[in-house]
Amino acid sequence: MRLLFILGEIGSGLRRNLSMVISVVLVTFVSLTFVGAAGMLQMQINQMKGYWYDKVQVAVFLCNDGSTAVGCASGPATKEQQENLQAMLESPAVKQYINDFQFESQAEAYTHFKEQFSNSPIVDSVSEDQLPASFRINMKNPEKYQIISETFSSQPGVETVSDQRQVLERIFSWMNGASVAAMGVAVVMIFCAVLLITTTIRLSAFSRRRETGIMRLVGASKTVIQLPFILEGVIAAVVGAVLASVTLWLMAHFWLNGELSTQFLNTPFISSAQVLVIAPVLIALGAGLAGISSLLTLRRYLKV
């Protein structure tokens, strides 16, 4: 009976304040979408780090026909130069910094390139001898990249030494920045959501002060008086959180795993299932924020 009564009160409260309730839903929806997006970016960064960090290497690219670097003035790298570089890599002075290394010939580079861009027209416009051969070095400690770079970049036959890890770090720091920005927007939006929930509950308590006054006089418990208001805020916020979760899931499903994954073939994207981990967090966050802010508002504006 009391449960039915409380449900009825919630229903009438939601109807009476429909426009305010809708704005609470929308604001929590937007703010939690940003929270979730920040979370997804962090998950994406971790995923990529895990996938790439043991694969990334320092690459020593050798001169080919098209090279313009100073060290390539004498044309493509010769067999002799290549053997010389290999000897250096095997010498104790260098060996102490690296785990192992492989040689990637122009033919192998072309095969990898074709795999990577299999459904892109760029494959047809690139030929084997346009791609450089390279030594792929696995570092013991990737931080020691500078030593390898200094040792090899001035050697004859070397076009350039590149640290893939640095490229990745740049991408990661960019993604991290985006995630921090999303979080910043989220904080502002959450602040708006809390203010809006507070105002909504206050209006709701005011518009029903007659009922609550009578409830108090006939001895209704604090729970029966306050619960409809609190649940009103919580329900609106949870609806917003569910909408945010659905939006994020759709983004992961159709954009990351649909469109982007066909464009960036060897990038490991987070799956839409992983987004489902974020959903409960968002719902709990929405419900918690709404619950606490309603409770504090009622303590001030609803005498019990």
Binding site: M1, R2, F5, R210, E211, G213, I214, M215, R216, L217, V218, G219, A220, S221, K222, V224, I225, V304
Partner: protein, 254 residues
Amino acid sequence: MIRFENVTKVYEQNARPALDSVSLEINRGEFTFLVGASGSGKSTFLRLILKEDKASSGSVYVAGQNVANISSWRVPKLRRGIGVVFQDFRLLPQKNVFANVAFAMQVIGKSRSIIRETVPEVLKTVGLEGKERRMPHELSGGEQQRVAIARAVVNRPGILLADEPTGNLDPITSMGIMGVLDKINQNGTTVVMATHDDDIVNEMRRRVVELKNGKVIRDEAKALYTSMIPVVGESRRLRDASGEELNRAQGAQL
């Protein structure tokens, strides 16, 4: 049933107290008028019984319990034992008569079947049979006040507090309301009614407690609105011969 011991209530520092060391006992089953000019402290007296306000000093006992010692989560239980009606009825305009009365039972978790059984009974007691489906705006003032009384007593409280219940009603309608309150009192409910309607008080001939500037200046059984006895000094109490002392002794055991 209700006992005030040296109760003083000060709302604002520097202002005179709304109640000034009031000591008073109201027994179970009694009908008491609280009279006095506006601002004499009648509503304050009633609010202290409900623990809507806290006494600045002194103690208020309801059914033998010092209300100051009732924790906030048990205040609802105290209020379930007390019905209240006001001058302005305070009905819910969008609910019909039945729903207004049923509301008081719903919010304390009474079952649907008990509500269906009890509400018509109570509406009959207050003389509103057959008007269950009316909306408040379709009722006269007197009928609205009857609905409010029905709501106040539907949970069978031991005490009924009425704060100027006839203040908005014409004399004839007021007498009708008094009939209802009297009937409720006959059924054993202790009634305390604040009023400054002298006709009613004179007609009913019940105990009269008169307040002036927060002090009790008269406490008389079977009395009139204005005292027949010259007021000497402070409060004065006349006892009737019908065993008031005995009632008091029984009340103290409750």
